[in-house]
Symmetry: C2
Subunit: 570 residues, 2 copies
């Protein structure tokens, strides 16, 4: 191994502790098991109350004081937002609030960050970013508005959570402020999209944003309102009533958006067998020695339900929903529990006709106004975007018995490369469905086919047209720009094996930067800015001695010593 500095060795040990030796992180939860949030629903208004239990951090070693959060807290938040979408279709507005006196949320827990490996910090930020982006997507697409009711200190990640909401209401009590104190206090950047949302979502004037981000105590009252940092001020005496009134108004804005029918999101209950995790439709098999994993998604085993009513009757057992929830869970397992795996082979198995039928049923139901179908499609889209921002190399393997059809073809199109077997009898093929025509867009807003064919937009219709005629065998898939590498029966296995070995020999950091650059081509959105750009700056700053060195600001936070900086600018 490398001769790392003391801090790197420490981080390595932490990484091992957090991944191999400690119990793996689990991403499934349920409101009945929440430690840190309360979810209450009353008619069209839901209340999501942050009440972080200091004694229940993800790992021992720090206390979650003052509504500070760690991954455990954010896993519950992500779960709550998703259940609001699927289980509570009557809800139109969500009040995000807290039950600690004079504190809304004080952001990510600094001691947790200080004790975490670089890899964990980066993946923690990625997860929290995905949660915030899901909140914004629910508002934009699903008729579910969010109001941040900040009845006290709203600092760092706390303010970033508020920024992800549609409205921010701050108590006007002469002391409660919103703030992004990361730069002045910790020598890092706000890790959850705060800078981007300030200037690109709320369009705060850049010079004011500069002042705001360097004032550790933040900005309160009229100035916060005037600068556009919050949307309304309410005195403490009228706060709760005023918030409810505004939440009702928000709910009224989206009264026309179809929601539901609701269904219960039941647990996935995977089984574990050594380094293999088996879900119903997904299997993740890890080879730690080779630093590779095989991720297999299977098609429905029977013809899927064709009507909205029949889909709803299956509840969360619906393949289109369950398979993608399983896939997402497997991606999280990869990110947090096996950071040493660099290359992931994407396989699919089963009957393509069933996937195409499932995609078509979903598209038809949504077109007919079914809210559940829309939610399922959006969850599929979020899952595929989670592939894009997972820092592993993905190679899709299209071979005999594979089932890269429709929504599963999207998975191949999300991969860095597609290997296709050119079999003698032309049975190996990919298949299109309505899911390939823009239903599952990338973070930049394009369909995956459009992103692939930026140089030749006319190819998108050619692929879809050819797919409408039937399976697209390897030779055609190559001509249509789907296949990256084509090899015949004699060479295929060797070609793939050598490619995986070569990939596994390259610098993980260079691959991460390379893949992020190549995956996020084309148009930019708030989301691509956050994952493509803000994350990269944060990555860099996290590695700098000024933040995480022995005398760095993040390391020394809460200790009597002052940080000591290398002043060289870059």
């Amino acid at each position: 191994m490398l001769a790392f500095g003391a801090r790197d060795r420490y981080n390595d040990r932490m990484a091992e502790t957090q991944t191999t030796q400690a119990a793996p992180v689990q991403f499934e939860t349920h409101p009945s098991r929440y430690h840190h949030w309360r979810l209450e629903v009353e008619g069209e208004i839901a209340r999501l109350t942050m009440a972080v239990d200091p004694a229940h951090p993800l790992r021992p070693g720090y206390e979650l004081k003052l509504n500070s959060y760690d991954l455990a807290v954010d896993i519950e938040l992500a779960d709550a937002v998703e259940r609001l979408r699927f289980e509570h279709p009557q809800v139109r507005a969500v009040v995000v609030t807290a039950d600690i006196d004079r504190v809304f949320c004080s952001g990510a827990n600094i001691y947790m960050l200080g004790a975490s490996s670089h890899s964990f910090k980066v993946n923690f930020c990625k997860f929290t970013n995905e949660t915030r982006l899901a909140i914004e997507e629910a508002s934009r697409e699903s008729g579910l508005r969010f109001l941040a009711a900040c009845k006290g200190t709203t600092a760092g990640g706390g303010y970033e959570l508020a920024l992800a909401c549609d409205e921010i209401v701050l108590v006007d009590d002469g002391s409660s402020a919103v703030s992004l104190p990361e730069t002045p206090l910790l020598g890092v950047l706000p890790g959850t999209g705060g800078l981007t949302r300030l200037v690109d979502k709320r369009k705060v004037r850049r010079d004011r944003a500069d002042v705001f981000c360097t004032v550790a105590e933040g900005i309160k009252g009229k100035r916060a309102l005037e600068w556009g940092l919050v949307d309304a001020l309410l005195p403490r005496s009228r706060f709760d009533a005023g918030v409810l009134e505004r939440a009702r108004a928000l709910a009224g804005q989206v009264a026309g958006v179809a929601r539901g029918p609701g269904l219960e999101l039941r647990p996935l209950e995977p089984s574990k067998d050594g380094d293999t995790i088996r879900y119903r439709h997904v299997e993740l098999a890890v080879d730690r020695a080779a630093r590779t994993a095989r991720l297999t998604v299977s098609a429905p085993t029977e013809p899927p339900p064709a009507t909205a009513a029949a889909m709803a009757a299956q509840g969360s057992d619906l393949w289109a929903l369950r398979a993608f929830r399983e896939l997402r869970d497997a991606l999280y397992q990869l990110r947090f529990n096996v950071p040493e795996v660099g290359t992931v082979l994407l396989h699919t198995r089963g009957n393509p006709a069933h996937v195409i039928a499932a995609d078509r049923a979903l598209a038809d139901a949504e077109a007919a106004g079914d809210g559940l179908a829309r939610e399922v499609r959006l969850l599929q889209a979020r899952t595929l975007k989670a592939v894009d921002c997972t820092a592993r190399s993905f190679f899709a393997v299209v071979d005999s018995g594979s089932c890269f059809a429709g929504s599963l073809l999207e998975l191949a199109l999300a991969a860095d490369r597609i290997y296709m077997l050119d079999d003698e009898d032309g049975q190996v093929a990919v298949h299109t469905s309505p899911a390939n025509a823009g239903a599952l867009p990338t973070a930049g807003g394009l369909s995956r086919l459009a992103l692939r064919h930026l140089a030749r937009p006319e190819m998108v219709d050619k692929v879809l047209g050819r797919g409408a005629e039937g399976p697209i065998p390897t030779a055609d898939a190559e001509a249509l720009g789907i296949a990256t590498i084509v090899a015949d029966d004699i060479d295929f296995d060797d070609e793939l094996r050598i490619a995986v070995e070569e990939r596994a020999s390259l610098s993980p950091d260079a691959l991460t930067g390379m893949e992020a650059s190549l995956r996020y081509a084309g148009p930019e959105t708030l989301e691509t800015k956050i994952f493509g750009r803000l994350s990269a700056w944060q990555n860099w700053i996290f590695t700098r001695p000024n933040a995480t060195g022995e005398r760095g600001a993040l390391t020394l936070y809460g200790k009597p010593e002052r940080p000591s900086f290398n002043w060289m600018r870059t």
Copy 2:
């Protein structure tokens, strides 16, 4: 200071060597003094030949073999491109070529990179990026097309230089390839926009780009053409004739674009007095102890020429040209020669009427079809964009005697903050001119006023309307969203002093990431992607032990040992 790892200490020493103790880097040169390029002009075709002299690196310690380059080489390239724009208005197409047998360019010199400090590496990449972007701007705006004539190995930064050209012609000799071997060979990213240009400019399919960027030997011949990596192949026997033919065709495409009249770019000849550099219109005064600098730009001392002919008669003494060339040189001095300065106070002095007159004369001449006026405006725009991507905090100081008018008001709008004195008699003011209405766009393509007022686009016309009536005194400038901080005579100096002291106490890395995020709000372009995103990934990777640690790939390049990687993915 911090307890850095061995490598950091080494880099710190190098940084000192490169900046404080060694002779400062000089950015002015002339074709008669080039060591590494030949510039030949014949009618409408110019030939820019890379012939790097291995024995003339910027610093002793490495040889520039095989047309590899360092900052000294790129300073000459930037000079040549600028002289083509100003001094050779008859030129319509530039052939970029090399005179080494079977080598076009092998990219940035690895030993130079390996021996450079982090700060130097980042600023080197920034400079080379600006040179490439200037080539593309000259093509887009100035009717000057570029053809990369690659008659041999075109590797790394060599291919990135080709990517900046309008056409890439590769010799089809069975061995010459284009390549981006940074990831497989060095564990870093291509540092000069290569990844972004691959997928966003040339729109190479992302899966093919992935293969290309991991194949150290690159791709040659028909496949390079089919994948869109090059635009044409020519056999060695017909190469020179074929290139000339294509260059003539390129020149024909832009025959209608007005160029010239030409002028000679004469040397700036600043004087140095301790830590102060004095140009004719610009002064850079460094306070190393306080880690601050004062950058002052002065207005023309006399009414500027009003016609295109009178402007041309002044040659490169024209204020609008000379002042911005001086300003840009001062920015380069800051970046390379005083990396410890974190905060820059921007001052202006002189008669606003002269600046407004200079801006108006330039706008009028360009509207009447004068090519020189366009070139001067574009150089001003590039200089202001160089402020945006200079990793220092800029505070503009609008006080008594200041002259933030028109093109100099743009300088204030490029700053992170604007401090304005609220004097009793309302004499302190800013002033608008045609230069504020979009003539000097940001990298994202907006005017600086539009970027400032993303949330309230109607404010742009309000500012310009108010400015058309006369000076905009402090109170009005505050109401119009120009001033960040306003203070009266009693408080102004203290307010500014405290702000500078506070700024100077913050982590330089966090400030760099924060400023880059806030400055690049709004629409994205190839240029913002390169500076906002690709640079950030490169920054991060440069700091990682996998690249620059004792056993990192960059460190060990050319040595018998194999690099050793920490495999944790992020």
